[in-house]
């Protein structure tokens, strides 16, 4: 089970630059669907990668679904040489995404974000319209129902209201 509150606190306390995307962003916008992981698009600067590495290190990040005892090192070099990481941690499942299909990276997403105050923190969340856009871009059949729900929310609300 994923402790969303604690994970957000970990990244927020580290002053890491990230955008909430995926199922949790959908919940923020009003979705009623269950999601099990926290999807973040992170800024790929050396400084920010350093913050993420330091923040998550105490929580035993490891590649989700990978065999145990792989020589996986959670450090800045690993993050810099990779892009998207699906992780299990002691706080739950986290997807650290350098880029997403249809959305690009952190700086590409910034103009499409909104800020939300939650648990005493301010987090950037991908706006509803862009969230629909990237889910459509992913083109996964499993997302069709989620997209229909997000579009229903969009039709119900002014654009990107929370």
């Amino acid at each position: 089970m994923t402790d969303f509150k604690q994970l957000l606190k970990v990244f927020s306390d580290a002053q890491a630059d990230f955008v909430l995307v995926g199922g949790v962003a959908a919940v923020v916008h009003g979705s009623a669907r269950l999601t099990e992981d926290l999807d973040l698009v992170y800024r790929r600067t050396p400084e920010n990668i350093g913050r993420l590495v330091t923040a998550l290190a105490p929580h035993q990040p490891y590649l989700r679904g990978a065999p145990p005892n792989l020589p996986f090192r959670w450090d800045a070099r690993t993050i810099e040489r990779g892009l998207n990481f699906t992780l299990d941690t002691a706080l739950g499942q986290v997807d650290l995404l350098g880029e997403i299909v249809g959305g690009g990276g952190y700086d590409d997403l910034l103009p499409h974000c909104t800020s939300v105050d939650v648990y005493g923190m301010t987090c950037r969340v991908l706006g509803l319209t862009r969230l629909i856009y990237v889910k459509r871009a992913a083109g996964r059949p499993k997302d069709f129902e989620a997209i229909s729900e997000l579009e229903s929310l969009r039709d119900r609300n002014p654009p990107d209201s929370l």
């Binding site: 969303f4 009003g30 350098g98 939650v118 319209t129 871009a137 229909s148």
Partner: protein
């Protein structure tokens, strides 16, 4: 829904239309709008708290299912 089949997230040439899609629209008939209205009446924090409660419930159901299957296998 999209004009490019590439799954490479670095590919920014993906062109996406937000125009109505008949497949997506077909799914909309099954959306429980009362749940959405209820969620929209909550704060963002309450929505995330509900997600956590839903996760806990799902976990308990999975455990119960595993116990049930184990008992059936031993019967």
């Amino acid at each position: 829904m999209r004009s490019d089949e590439s799954q490479d997230p670095r590919d920014r040439r993906v062109e996406v239309s937000l125009a109505p899609d008949p497949v997506i629209d077909a799914y909309k008939a099954g959306i429980d709008r009362t749940l959405l209205e209820k969620n929209l009446s909550l704060t963002v924090e309450e929505r995330l708290d509900n997600l956590k409660a839903l996760q806990e419930f799902a976990l308990e159901l999975r455990k119960a299912g595993a116990r049930m299957r184990a008992a059936a296998n031993h019967a």
